[in-house]
Amino acid sequence: MKLKELESHLQEVEGFEEPKILLEQYPTRPHIAACMIHTIASSFDDIENRSILDLGCGCGMLSIGCVMLGAGSVVGVDIDPDALDTCQQNLEDFEMDNVDLINASVEEAGLLFRNKFDVVVMNPPFGTKHNKGLDMKFLETALKLASRSVYSLHKTSTRDHVLKKAQSWGAKPQVVAELRYDLPATYKHHTKASVDINVDFIRFAVS
């Protein structure tokens, strides 16, 4: 499937009915999700027939993208049962039957599985809502759960820290691309509807 086709399909994915600000809930933009998944598939052969974990799956944007490009199986984990409801609705609308969902937090996730997935994909919370360091908690957990690679998004401003930490955890990180991202408004006193930040799309090789 071509990138443009994937993106236009992902535009049909329903977002959160009532996004929970404290969980930093927002759907990954279809354009970004499509670029991510398409690159993972074509440049790294990490989608087709792979077992994939979508950590913090939210409404399922990345999971759906993975299925569209031929993932063997996908498991989506999220802490919010309402998000999982939306995700399940999306999976039904897209008639996808090989995605399983689990309601769990990143704390439980590290010990939840007896064996590893081939690949972990995620767009973790950036830690901007009184949850500083949460993106690194996601990364640490993801690295424990993948046997081949982890693909993730992190603020470019934290790049050095992310790369160093990943290496200390035994991974070989590679910044695949730098993207521009509009993060939705946060507190009531913020006047802009969204703010643009630079985001790194990073591949962490585990094996």
Binding site: N49, S51, G72, S73, V75, I79, P81, L84, Q88, D97, N98, D100, L101, I102, N103, A104, S105, E107, E108, G110, L111, L112, F113, R114, N115
Partner: protein
């Protein structure tokens, strides 16, 4: 929740639980659906499947007759076996019921196919 997923799940995050595997299934609603057969993928994951756990799970869902007793040596080339494995791993789903930790007896409810593995603060 498919049996492929159940085959991976543990309750090890609960403190004082050693292995937390396999989780027992108390099934209330089970669904059988049709999922596209991908023999290449099934052959890849067979080595990762705990076959005893899978058999017990199939039994707890009332589908023991569907699962071969063991994995044949040349399973990669046996279409019939791969098809049966595919059926048990991906087409039989627990919709409502509970998963039970074998050590602590802690129940994890499964609702609409989604297991709730969230733990309380005092359990971690």
């Amino acid at each position: 929740m498919k049996l492929l997923t159940h085959n991976m799940l543990t309750s090890k995050a609960i403190k004082q639980v050693n292995t937390g595997y396999p989780l027992l299934i108390e099934a209330r609603d089970v669904k059988v659906s049709e999922v596209e057969f991908n023999p290449e993928f099934i052959a890849k994951i067979i080595p990762k499947v705990d076959w005893d756990c899978l058999r017990r799970a199939a039994e707890q869902l009332g589908h023991l007759d569907k699962i071969p007793a063991s994995v044949p040596d040349t399973y990669e080339n046996q279409q019939e076996f791969l098809k049966q494995a595919h059926h048990v791993l991906l087409e039989i789903e627990l919709i409502n019921g509970d998963l039970v930790c074998p050590e602590s007896n802690r129940k994890f409810p499964v609702t609409d196919g989604i297991p709730n593995m969230l733990l309380r603060e005092d359990e971690i």
